[in-house]
């Protein structure tokens, strides 16, 4: 089984290095090192540089993960982040296939409480160390806020599968006081840490220790804390009540950390009892000193009024020291016949117990011996074996994926061929691959009959049939582009959500066309389109001017939120697009799935050249797609003119339609440089011809400025066909690895003046170094095979569609709260951002 446990006991500020923390540390390090079957996951939300693994020898069965919640654990302190933490835990449990989640300290007060619903299909066990605050609620829970908080913690125990308590007494308390069912509770007891044992304290060490703390006689040792329950004041009084001849022979050494006030109160008690000269308060001591004290003490007195598990008893035994303790709670259960039991509420009883023991060396020796024997019950090895056995008895929930039956069905909104759109071709290919994993119903627009041929498990419907079938699907996918072919999807996205594949980051053009042209100057709609992205009204004056006949700023103002705000999940093809979407609104599930390419055998370049009227020795440079200003047709022409003078065998091919706005300029440039022989413009061509032209090209040019955040289908094809391509270092193009293409500077950076020279330089370098060109071709093909292969992309699609996504927990609102949170320090931000990213 996989068992995750939290860090609240080991590292929580209330528990670390104290009773609970030490207990949990010994327990879990021991369990992990002893357990050869289960795998343990330490989920540390508390201390960044802590490494529990240092203590683990059985490393194959242990994983530790740090989840940054801020130095002061800002994420754990404010209920506003509850969902974030919930998502983190849910994802952690899911990713690691956790069967059992072990809550190590359910009353670590400063942190938010675990919610039951985070642990669906996970068994939850909790260690309960005691319910002392409830048993003594008039003392500990007098304040209503504290009481309420405590009871919330208690309620949280009720849905746990099992409660592990550290003594019979805690079990009895849970049943008696809080009415827990007995079968929910298992007693695991506690044990002594291995570091406690009989040590030979050299005379010099002893002298140094005694001198450091002012001990001048044999002594009675006690440990505890200033909490009245520990009864240190009672012990001090009892000490003073012992018969003087015995008392005067021994000092009382109180070995524990005390606050200034606590120290003052206890000193006062000692003074009042006239034993202030013989009562010593060490305050903080090191582990080594503590063990020396245990070893040197004549007697360890621990007359606490209540303990979940009285560790000092077993620690003293381990050091060979006889013990006196109280006849209450777990103390009498642990002490058994191996400790002298007294009434903690009676100073006289304590005094008598101590005096009787100290009066006779034989009694002391006898109890030391009994303690050593009884100690064997409280060894970690034994306790841990017992706990592992308890965990092994827990039946984990069955894995969900195993139980799932039937083939999933997916709805798919897209244009299909013969619609002239890159997305039509894209969808045709994706569907034919994706349908290997699931059944697909394709919903298309009215008014055309698709030419695509799909396998049997793919059906094509008119979009109006979708509402009747909407509940049949694992998910609904919308292929979204910046054209009117997608208009029919708008209402469906807004109503049914689903997963939107956003091919063009900026849909402004389509939106404008839909509102103003198709909608016949429906400026109200246009206003909705714009305001979805600018809800603050910052574009209202712009809307106003467009409404009065002003030109739209289609490139300058990117729009998509009108649809994207309603998408449950978004798939994009570039990191850049993802960044933009998240920057607009963090509460989005965005996945980057590479645009694909069909990997086909490489063509014989020379043969294709000849088939298309070129000579073998011609060096063909090609630009694909519409010939426009943004595709840098004019600077390319200028660069080519210069190159052609040096390399007369070069030919420049524009495979696409020449845009109107540059037509005259283009033509005059061709004339000016006398390039009519070496430059060819194809006009619109079919996809097959398009592919053929790529096959015959020596160097492709895929230039762009400015960018619309789009990915380029042509570029993917070029890479898949193993051709060397020159691109601008811009937008999604930048995401192609450097080794698989040639990048020239972003025009925005270098300026248009320098652009032709930059293009010229890049081409010349390649022409002069054919080896480099070959190397890039190889790398391009390899990149396509590894990342763009349709099979890989389709699998990625399918996995993403099947993936369970938690409702977004990280929202702009949460980020706002966090920004203003006084507990957030600048140094925390980076780490916390990682955790939030994990929670999305």
């Amino acid at each position: 089984m996989n068992i995750a446990f939290d860090a609240t006991a080991i590292l929580g500020p209330m528990s670390k290095n104290r009773g609970i923390g030490n207990y949990a540390l010994s327990q879990f390090t021991g369990m992990i090192n002893q357990d050869k079957n289960n795998h343990y996951f330490f989920m540390n939300m508390i201390e960044k540089d802590y490494c529990l693994g240092d203590l683990i020898t059985n490393k194959d069965h242990f994983t530790e993960d740090f989840i940054d919640t801020g130095k002061d654990h800002v994420l754990l302190r404010n209920p506003a982040y509850e969902k974030v933490i919930g998502n983190v835990i849910k994802r952690y449990l899911r990713e690691n296939d956790i069967d059992i989640f072990y809550i190590t300290s359910p009353f670590e007060s400063s942190y938010m409480l675990y919610q039951k619903e985070w642990f669906e299909n996970v068994r939850v066990v909790v260690t309960v160390y005691d319910i002392i605050p409830y048993v003594m609620k008039h003392h500990y829970l007098a304040d209503k806020t504290t009481y309420d908080w405590y009871m919330r913690c208690v309620d949280n125990l009720r849905w746990a599968d099992e409660l592990y308590v550290i003594s019979e007494s805690v079990k009895t308390d849970l049943i008696e006081y809080l009415h827990f069912p007995a079968e929910q509770i298992k007693v695991i007891w506690g044990a002594v840490d291995e570091k406690y044992g009989i040590v030979n304290v050299s005379e010099a060490d002893k002298k140094a220790l005694m001198k450091k703390f002012g001990v001048t006689k044999p002594f009675i040792m006690c440990t505890g804390g200033e909490d009245g329950r520990k009864n240190l004041d009672g012990l001090v009084r009892a000490y003073s009540l012992m018969p003087e001849p015995i008392r005067a022979k021994y000092q009382l050494v109180v070995v524990c950390k005390l606050s200034e006030n606590g120290l003052k109160a206890l000193r006062g008690a000692a003074k009042k009892a006239h034993v202030e000269d013989d009562v010593i308060f060490t305050n903080f001591v090191t582990d080594q000193e503590l063990i020396q004290f245990y070893n040197l003490a004549s007697l360890m007195a621990f007359p606490s009024k209540y303990e979940g598990f009285g560790l000092p008893i077993v620690e003293a035994w381990a050091c060979g020291t006889p013990v006196l303790t109280a006849n209450n709670s777990s103390l009498c259960q642990i002490g058994g016949d191996a400790a002298v039991l007294v009434d903690a509420d009676s100073d006289k009883s304590i005094a008598k117990g101590m005096a009787d023991m100290l009066a006779d060396e034989k009694i002391l020796a006898d109890y030391a011996q009994r303690g050593a024997k009884r100690l064997e019950l409280y060894r970690w090895k034994k306790i841990n074996d017992d706990i592992i056995a308890l965990l092994d008895q827990i039946r984990p929930y069955k894995r969900e994926t195993e139980s799932q039956t039937g083939r999933p069905r997916i709805a798919f909104f897209t244009p299909l061929p013969p619609i002239e759109s890159g997305i039509s071709d894209y969808s045709e290919d994706i569907i034919s691959e994706l349908c290997k994993y699931c059944d697909i119903d394709v919903f298309i627009d009215d008014g055309y009959k698709p030419t695509s041929v799909f396998p049997e498990n793919v059906a094509i419907y008119g979009y109006k049939e979708y509402p009747a079938r909407s509940s049949d699907y694992l998910d609904t996918v919308f292929q979204m582009g910046n054209s009117d072919f997608h208009f029919y999807m708008y209402d469906f996205i807004r109503k049914y959500h689903g997963t939107v594949v956003l091919h063009d980051y900026n849909l402004h053009g389509a939106f404008y066309y839909r509102a103003v042209t198709v909608g016949k100057k429906d400026y109200a709609l246009y206003r909705d389109f714009v305001r979805a992205d600018f809800p603050d009204g910052s574009k209202d004056s712009y809307i106003e001017s467009v409404s009065h006949g002003g030109g739209p700023d289609i490139f300058g103002i990117a729009l998509n939120s009108y649809l994207m705000d309603h998408a449950a999940r978004i798939i994009v093809h570039s990191e850049e697009a993802k960044r933009g979407l998240l920057a607009r609104n963090i509460a989005r599930h965005v996945e980057v799935i590479a645009s694909y390419a069909v990997i086909t055998p490489l063509a014989d370049r020379d043969a294709v050249k000849e088939a298309n009227g070129y000579k073998k020795e011609d060096v063909v440079l090609s630009a694909f797609g519409g010939i426009s200003r943004t595709k840098r047709a004019l600077p390319l022409l200028k660069a080519f003119a210069k190159l052609h003078e040096e390399f007369p065998q070069t030919k420049l091919l524009f495979a696409g339609k020449l845009a109107d706005d540059i037509k005259s300029e283009f033509k005059s440039l061709v004339r000016e440089y006398d390039l009519s022989e070496s430059v060819q413009v194809t006009g619109y061509i079919e996809i097959d011809k398009f592919k053929e032209y790529i096959d015959m090209t020596d160097i492709c040019l895929n230039l762009r400025y400015p960018s619309n955040g789009e990915t380029s289908g042509s570029l993917m094809r070029i890479l898949a066909k193993g051709r060397c391509v020159v691109v601008n270092d811009i937008g999604s193009f930048s995401e192609i690895p450097d080794r698989a293409c040639i990048k020239i500077e972003n025009v925005g950076k270098m300026g248009e003046e320098r652009e032709p020279d930059a293009i010229y330089e890049a081409l010349r370098t390649l022409l002069e170094d054919p080896d480099e060109q070959a190397r890039i071709e190889k790398a391009a093909r390899r990149f396509a095979e590894e990342h763009l292969d349709l099979r890989i992309v389709a699998k990625h699609y399918y996995d993403y569609l099947c993936m369970a996504c938690d409702a977004p927990a990280v929202t702009e609102e949460v980020l706002n709260t966090l920004r203003q949170d006084p507990n957030l320090s600048q140094a925390d931000i980076s780490g916390i951002a990682g955790t939030l990213a994990y929670a999305t």
């Binding site: 994983t63 530790e64 993960d65 740090f66 989840i67 983190v88 980051y505 900026n506 600018f534 910052s538 574009k539 001017s545 467009v546 006949g549 002003g550 030109g551 739209p552 700023d553 490139f555 300058g556 103002i557 990117a558 729009l559 850049e576 993802k578 960044r579 933009g580 998240l582 920057a583 607009r584 963090i586 965005v590 706005d661 005259s664 400015p706 960018s707 619309n708 955040g709 811009i730 937008g731 972003n746 925005g748 950076k749 990280v810 702009e812 980020l815 966090l818 920004r819 957030l824 600048q826 931000i829 980076s830 916390i832 951002a833 990682g834 955790t835 939030l836 990213a837 994990y838 999305t840």
Partner: protein, 511 residues
């Protein structure tokens, strides 16, 4: 290890948390709304102009030209007609204009963007400067604070120095006192050392003496053993001779015995002189041989004579010494003990009894006081003078009245014993040959307790005078004399202190 999260998402969140614009890309700055947010940093008028430029950049010949005055259908138709007519000329002009406009707009946007960058950087620098200023101020304040603390510290140091000086003076004074005391102590020690030296010297002398004493004691013990051996030898010799020699030879035997006793006396003198002060009387000048007597006035010698006259062997007699006092010194029975006789010694004084047991191991020593009552406890007054300790308080007081140097040293209680008990225990078969009564004033009481009908010692020695620290004459106790006579005893001799009575019923034969 850490959890694996999406790095891009993390970057976006981090930028948002830091409240800086998300650095998407340069393209985004121009095209995306995120960029527009940055533009908002610049002044609004400029933004408006930019927006207008954007809006109006594209000019085409077919663009509608708004006309405020002519709004009729006719004018619209006319305009459209004119546009068609002039299209071939106007359109290229408009295209040129559009290109220029586009470049200009784009340039303006660039300028604006750069300006914003500069502003942003300036803003950052300002913030940084402000931060530096406040740090400087903080530092200055801290320096001031440190100065103030420094001054306060100096004042404290001065005060501490003054206190140190005062303490140092006090320390010096205390040191002087201490030195003086040490000097005095040293002198005292010097004197004491002298005393110790002399004590040591004395101790050495004492030790020497002790060793010497020890040597003497050892010699004595050796001699005693030698004596015992010789005694046995001579006893055997004597027995042999007694068997073989006739009565005429008896005198020679007695002489030999006397000679032996003389030698013993001499030996005793040599060995025991320091331990037993004057226990031995000598008449060697007269007789040339030793005659041993331990009694006060030769009583033992007298009795020896009686025994010899009666033919009683002195080594075979038994004695009962009531008030035995010292084992040797002034003892009336010791001479017989030495001869080999044995008996019972009674004394109330436990100290003396101890010595008796030591010195006369052959005798039975009873540390009880004589009384007419059984099982009672009686006071016994231990006096500092030898042989004077008594049960009789009046008697003790009487001693003291007579010799002011005497006093009661100690009063102890002693268990009583009756004379009958002693007799029953030790002399049931036969009365002793010698009964010595020396009980310092209680003689009469004791005599009264004895049943002389059935208990008849051959010789009874009884003290007849009260104690005096000087020689006393003519005060013999007539009461005792009368009593003894009535009991059938005749006074054989009176030594001035003791009377020696002989049993008339046996001694009569002597007469």
């Amino acid at each position: 290890m850490s959890i694996q999260y999406d790095k891009l998402t993390k970057e976006v969140i981090e930028a948002k948390l830091r409240q800086v614009s998300v650095p998407v890309t340069r393209a985004d700055v121009q095209a995306a709304a995120v960029g527009a947010e940055e533009f908002q940093v610049a002044n609004a008028a400029m933004l408006d102009s930019l927006e207008r430029m954007n809006r109006t950049a594209v000019n085409r010949s077919y663009r509608e030209i708004p006309s405020p005055t002519l709004r009729t259908k006719f004018t619209k138709l006319f305009k459209r007609f004119m546009r068609r007519m002039t299209f071939w000329y106007v359109e290229p002009c408009m295209m040129q204009q559009t290109e220029f406009n586009s470049a200009n707009t784009s340039f303006a946007a660039e300028v604006n963007s750069e300006l914003n960058n500069v502003r942003l950087r300036l803003h950052t620098l300002d913030a940084y400067n402000a931060g530096q200023d406040s740090i400087m101020q903080g530092t200055a304040a801290r320096i001031d604070g440190l100065d103030a603390r420094g001054n306060a510290g100096e004042a404290r140091i001065a005060a501490l120095e003054a206190r140190c000086a005062a303490l140092s003076d006090a320390l010096d004074a205390a040191l002087d006192d201490t030195r003086r005391e040490i000097r005095q102590a040293a002198e005292t020690i010097h004197v004491q050392a002298g005393q110790i030296e002399s004590l040591e010297r004395r101790n050495a002398v004492l030790t020497e003496q002790h060793q010497q004493n020890f040597g003497y004691q050892k010699q004595f013990q050796e001699l005693e053993q030698e004596f015992h051996r010789l005694e046995q030898e001579h006893y055997q010799e004597m027995l042999r001779r007694t068997d073989t020699l006739d009565a005429l030879l008896h005198k020679d035997v007695t002489d030999t015995m006397t000679g032996m006793q003389g030698r013993i006396g001499k030996l005793e003198k040599l060995s025991y002189v320091s331990a037993v002060n004057g226990a031995v009387c000598l008449n060697e000048e007269e007789t040339g041989e030793f005659r041993v007597s331990f009694s006060q006035s030769g009583e033992d010698a007298i009795i020896r004579y009686i025994f010899s006259a009666l033919g009683v062997a002195p080594d075979l007699v038994r004695y009962l010494d009531l008030g035995a006092n010292h084992a040797v010194h002034l003892s009336n029975t010791y001479s017989f003990y030495l001869s080999g006789a044995r008996g019972v010694l009674l004394d109330a004084n436990p100290v003396l009894c101890q010595e008796l047991e030591q010195r006369r191991p052959g005798d039975v020593v009873i540390n009880r006081c004589l009384s007419d009552q059984k099982d009672t406890k009686l006071n016994f007054y231990i006096m500092n003078g030898d042989g004077l300790s008594t049960m009789d308080y009046d008697a003790a007081q009487d001693f003291i009245a007579k010799n002011p140097a005497l006093r009661i040293e100690k009063t102890i209680t002693i268990d009583s014993i009756t004379i009958d008990e002693i007799i029953r225990e030790h002399f049931a078969d036969k009365a002793p040959e010698i009964m010595n009564i020396d009980v310092e004033g209680m003689e009469m009481t004791i005599l009264n307790m004895i049943d002389f009908e059935h208990f008849r010692p051959l010789v009874i020695i009884c003290e007849m005078i009260d104690y005096h620290n000087s020689l006393t004459v003519g005060e013999k106790n007539g009461e005792i004399l009368d009593f003894m006579r009535r009991a059938g005893y005749e006074e054989f001799a009176f030594t001035g202190i003791n009377s020696i009575f002989i049993d008339q019923r046996r001694g009569g034969a002597v007469k």
